[in-house]
Amino acid sequence: MRSGLSFTRLLAVARKEAIHFLRDRRSLGLAFGLPAAMVLAFGWIISFDIRFIPMAVFDQDRTQASRSLVDAFTASSYFVVTDRLERYGDAEPLLNRGAVRLVLVIPPRFQARLSSGGPAPVQALVDGGDANTAIIAMTYARGIVAAYSTRALLGARRVAPRVGAETRIWYNERLKSSHMIVPGLIAVVMMIIAALLTSLTVAREWDRGTMEQLAATPVHPAEVIVGKLLPYLVVGLIDVLVIGFIGDAVFRVPFRGNFLFFIGASFFFLIGSLSLGILISAAVRSQMLAVQVAMISTFLPSLLLSGFMFDIANMPKVLQAISLVVPARYFITAVRGIMLKGVGPDVLWPHGLGMILFGTVGLALAVRAFRKELR
C-alpha cells in the first residue's frame, strides 16, 4: 500500500486550484488589481508628506523684517498664507473652523528688537486637533524661524558662526514617504493575498460540499495544503515584482540591495502568510467567517502594528509587545533594509531566519489543522 506523499496528487490539487483562481474574476481582481491600486493610493493620496498647510498671519509690526519672515514661510512651500488678520481675536474662529492650521503672530517692534540685537519672539498658534499635522507644522515653523534668525544674525553682524551642524539624511535623502511606503506595502499586500485569497480555499470546499468527495480520496493533507498554496505563491511573487516595478517606475524608490536575498525573504514570508490564511480556512470551515478572521488576525496587524504606518518605538508598551509576534514587522524591516540601505544577509540574517521560521511553522500548522474527517 502506498502511503508516502505523491507528487502527482500534489500537482493535481495545484492545477485544480489554479483553474479555480483563473476562472474567478473577483479573485483575479483581488490578487492583481488591489495591490496596484493600493500602491498608487498610498503613494499619492495618503502621502505622509504634508505640504501647503493653510496659515494665517497677524502682523502687528508691518515692517520689512516682519514681511520677510512671512515670505520665508510661503517660500518654503510647506505653508500658504490664506488670511491676514486685523485683530488677535480673529485667530480663534479660523482655527476652530479648521480653515487654517497655524497662525503666526508677529508682535509690534519686531524689527526694532531684531536690529537692537535683542530677542524678538514671535508666536505660533497651532491647531492641535490633528496631532500629527500639528507636530509636523510646528517642526516646519521652527525650522523656518530658526533659519530666518540665523540669516538675521548674520546680516546684522556679518560674521560666520563658528560651529554649524549640517544635517544629512541617509537612505532616504529627500525624506520621501513613498520610499518608506513601497517596501512596507510589499509586506501588507502579501498579507492581503493570504488573508483574502487563501482563507477562502479550504472553506470553499466545505461550503460547496466538495470536501466530502475530496476527503474520500487517498489524498494526504500535506498534498492538499501545499497544492493549494502553490498557485497563490506564484501570484504573490508576481505581486511583489509588480509593486517593486511601480515603486521604481512611478515613485523612483531605489533598490540598493541584493535582489536574490530579497526574493528569498519574500518567498518564505509568503509561504508563512499563505499558510496562515489556509490555517484559518481549515479551522473555521466557512468562507464568510474565514475572511473576517483573516482580516482581523493577519491583515490589520500587518497594516497597523508592523511599523508600516506607525513607528513601533512610539507605540504603547502593550502594542509594542504584540508587534513582536507580527511577522510583517520583521519582513518590513528586512525589505526596507534591502531596498533603501542596500544591506544584505550579513546584517539582516536574523530577519531572514525569522522568515524561514515563519514559513515552515505556518506550513506545518496548516497541514496539521487540515482534517479529512467530517464532523
Binding site: S6, K16, I19, H20, R208, T210, M211, E212, Q213, A216
Partner: protein, 312 residues
C-alpha cells in the same frame, strides 16, 4: 466467497442522538447490496463510517480487508465513492474534473487516456469534455460523478443515494450503469429511499431510526409479510388512511402515492366490512382489491411489527 464489507455493532452518536445503532452486516464480493430507508434513517452516516470519513463511536469492521477504525486511508485507495449531494467542482470542465480525480487516485499516462475515454463513454459525456460541469443537467452530473468514482477501477463502490432528485428515466439509465459495473465484478454498496430501486439489489438491508430492521433478498423480504394487503382507490386518500387507523380488522393503513394500502387480519372479511364503514363516515371509495405486497409494504409492516414509527 470473501467479504467486501463486514461490520459488527457499528454505532455513531452525535451528542445524545444515536444516528446509527449497532448495525451488523456482511457484504459479499460482487454483490449489489442495497441500503433502504427513509431520510434520516442513518444510511449516509453508516456509509461515511465505512469509507473513513467519520469515526465510529463504537463497533468494529473491515472494508476491502482494512480496519474501519485504523486503516481508513488504505480503504480510500480501494474504493470509489459518490456522495449524496453532487460534489464535483462546478467551475471545472468535465475533463478537468476527471483529470483532477485521476491525479488523486494516481491514474496516469496511457491508463489515464484509456480510463478517461471509457469513463466518459460510459457516462455518455464523450462529446462534452469541455463543458463546464455546473452547466450540465443533474442526471448528467450524476453520471459524471459515477464516472469519476470508478476512474481507478476500484473493486468496491459506495453510492449514497446516487439517483436522488433525478427523473425516473435517468434513474433507470443510471441503474443500467450500476448493473454494468457489477457484471464487471465490482461490488456495489448503494443506498436509496426509492423502494422500486431497492428491487434491483441482490440483497437489501432495511434501515429505520439508525437500526437495520431486516436484511435479505428482496423476494425473501416480501415473503416475510404474511398478512393480507388491500389497496383502496378513493377521492380522499389521506382522510381514509386516518379513519382506518385502529379500525376493526385493520393492522396498519398508509398512503401509497394516491392510494391507501391497508394491512388486515382477514382479506375477505375486510373487503366486506371496510367499504361500508367508510361510506358511513362520508368517505366513499372507488375500488378495493387484494394486492401483492411491495417492498415498501414490507417496510411499513416491519416497522409496525416493531411497534415503531417510520421516520421521515
Amino acid at each position: 466467497m470473501s467479504l467486501a464489507v463486514s461490520v459488527r455493532d457499528l454505532t455513531r452518536r452525535f451528542g445524545d442522538f444515536t444516528a446509527v445503532d449497532r448495525v451488523t452486516f456482511d457484504v459479499e464480493e460482487g454483490e449489489i447490496f442495497g441500503f433502504l430507508g427513509p431520510n434520516g434513517a442513518g444510511k449516509t452516516t453508516t456509509i461515511r463510517m465505512l469509507i473513513g470519513l467519520l469515526a465510529p463511536s463504537s463497533g468494529t469492521g473491515a472494508v476491502a480487508g482494512f480496519d474501519v477504525l485504523t486503516e481508513t486511508e488504505a480503504i480510500k485507495h480501494s474504493i470509489g465513492y459518490m456522495s449524496q449531494l453532487f460534489s464535483l467542482y462546478a467551475d471545472l470542465t468535465v475533463d478537468e474534473n476527471v483529470q483532477f480525480f485521476a491525479g488523486l487516485y494516481g491514474v496516469r499516462g496511457e491508463r489515464l487516456k484509456r480510463r478517461r475515454r471509457e469513463v466518459l463513454e460510459m457516462a455518455g459525456l464523450a462529446e462534452h469534455g469541455r463543458r463546464i460541469t455546473g452547466d450540465l443537467p443533474l442526471g448528467w452530473k450524476q453520471r459524471l460523478a459515477l464516472g469519476t468514482a470508478v476512474l481507478h477501477e476500484p473493486p468496491l463502490l459506495f453510492l449514497d443515494e446516487p439517483t436522488s432528485g433525478v427523473d425516473p428515466i435517468s434513474r433507470r439509465a443510471f441503474w443500467d450503469l450500476i448493473y454494468g459495473l457489477a457484471a464487471g465484478g465490482t461490488t456495489v454498496f448503494v443506498s436509496t429511499h426509492y423502494m422500486e430501486e431497492a428491487e434491483y439489489c441482490h440483497r437489501l438491508a432495511l434501515m429505520n431510526r439508525g437500526r437495520i430492521i431486516a436484511l435479505d433478498r428482496p423476494a425473501a423480504l416480501r415473503e416475510t409479510m404474511t398478512e393480507p394487503l388491500l389497496c383502496i382507490t378513493a377521492e380522499h386518500g389521506p382522510a381514509i388512511a386516518q379513519a382506518l387507523q385502529g379500525a376493526p380488522l385493520v393492522l396498519e393503513a398508509a398512503m401509497f402515492g394516491r392510494d391507501v394500502h391497508v394491512m388486515v387480519e382477514d382479506a375477505a372479511a375486510a373487503r366486506e366490512y371496510l367499504p361500508a364503514l367508510l361510506e358511513g363516515k362520508g368517505l366513499p371509495i372507488r375500488a378495493i382489491e387484494e394486492i401483492r405486497p411491495s417492498l415498501e409494504d414490507v417496510f411499513v409492516a416491519l416497522v409496525h411489527r416493531e411497534g415503531g414509527a417510520v421516520l421521515g
